[in-house]
Amino acid sequence: MTVTTAGPASVTGDLLPFRDPGFRADPYPYYARLRREHPVYRHPAGLYVVSRYEDVARLIRNPTLSVQQLDFGPAAPIHHTMLGKDAPDHTRLRRITNRWFTPKAVEEWSKVMRASVEAVLDEVEKGDGALDAADGLSLKCTFETTCHIFGIEPTDMDTIQRKTYEIGLSLGPGGNDEEARATTEAFAWFAGHIRRLVSDKRAHPGEGLIDAFIAAQDEGRMTEEEVVHTIFLFFAVGHLDVKHLINHGIWLLTQQPGLFAAYRDEPEARPGIINEILRIDTPESMVVRLTTQDTVIGATTVPAGEALALLIASANRDPEVFADPDTFDHTRPLAAGQHLAFGSGMHGCAGQVLARAEADIVFSSIVNRFSGVELAGEPAYAHTEFLRTITHLPVRFR
């Protein structure tokens, strides 16, 4: 019997083994093969994986693709946030928060971030220069900044980090029952914690973002479920991806003394350095969308009702757009293309001005105060299939 092979469904084996530790540690060779051989790959889990820059950049803006109709499984409460809604609900929720993350607003939040970073580095300087930068700097300072924006005290940081990670486990395509249970429990914990925060705020009003959400609810612009889960979302994104950006940047500073000097001596190069950190190790490797009509991607027509995984981390390493893509080069020309680490289009990251500012504050404070930084132990990782994660980053400043 002759088997006719045509299109991505005919690939045998799993070219994107989401559960494989080797894949999680270094997914880039897998991405490279997909881009070369199967730019639209029908994964055994059922979704279509898109890996080339040109396709990802086009589809990530495609207004016919839906997030609202996606099945998030145990992470279904995300549908109460802008991440899980299409227009017009997405538009309504985003307009409520947009003004809190404008460059002008970010100037205010930057003061909080800077004070937090300087306080950590003061202690480091008094001691022997050693620090676990992952929890002691990246997490601590971004979390304190998020809480300030909310208008609350920075409590329960470690629990919030852990519960967020447990929800993240179910956002990739490869989750199991145990992870699903952890995700459900984590959402329940967040709902309880956040309802307490909101009722405290009702009793003692302030001028933070939670107060703005309460006002929006009272004016009928948000539901209670949207308030609770939007607060969850901001707790999560307030540290999750930006923490990786900062950790990865500090790690690069330990590996490349020239980068340390460039960051210190060439302020005009700093935005390019931050962009290159985001490009070469994109914190969130994919976004998922649902087709609502026949969607043509290169030689493949994906029918309506199919999930698309848009591999932004692969797009950011596409040699068609980024020459010598596996090499860190912050001087590469912008004209070729912008990285997609913050997404693009209407679901593009609303907090990217803040994320860039927070990363710059950390790196600037380090290079202005110290003459170098080195690893003081092996970093530890907890990469998932969609989220790059450094859990421990022992460093010593000198």
């Binding site: 086009r58 803006r61 495609n62 207004p63 538009t91 985003r94 307009r95 947009n98 003004r99 993350f101 404008t102 460059p103 002008k104 912008l334 912008q338 913050f342 693009s344 289009g345 209407m346 593009g348 990251c349 609303a350 990217q352 001005v353």
Partner: protein, 70 residues
């Protein structure tokens, strides 16, 4: 007054469309529709009546690609 949009900075987040739907739109591909009229920088006159919406659009643009000239 005039609006200037740096299309090299713009990443089609569409926040300007929400803020000023009379001035900005996304096309069928989800890209800023005025890209069909310019490649690098788009400049156009804007009626004073739209000033408030235009300022909001400039303020909320995540890439800060919109400049307002009085």
């Amino acid at each position: 007054m005039k609006v200037e949009v740096d299309l090299k900075k713009c990443q089609d987040h569409g926040q300007c469309v929400y803020a000023a739907p009379d001035l900005f739109a996304l096309d069928d591909e989800g890209r800023l529709s005025l890209r069909s009229q310019a490649t690098d920088v788009y400049v156009a006159d804007v009626d004073e009546a739209s000033a408030e919406a235009l300022y909001e659009a400039a303020e909320v643009c995540p890439l800060q690609a919109i400049t307002v000239h009085e």
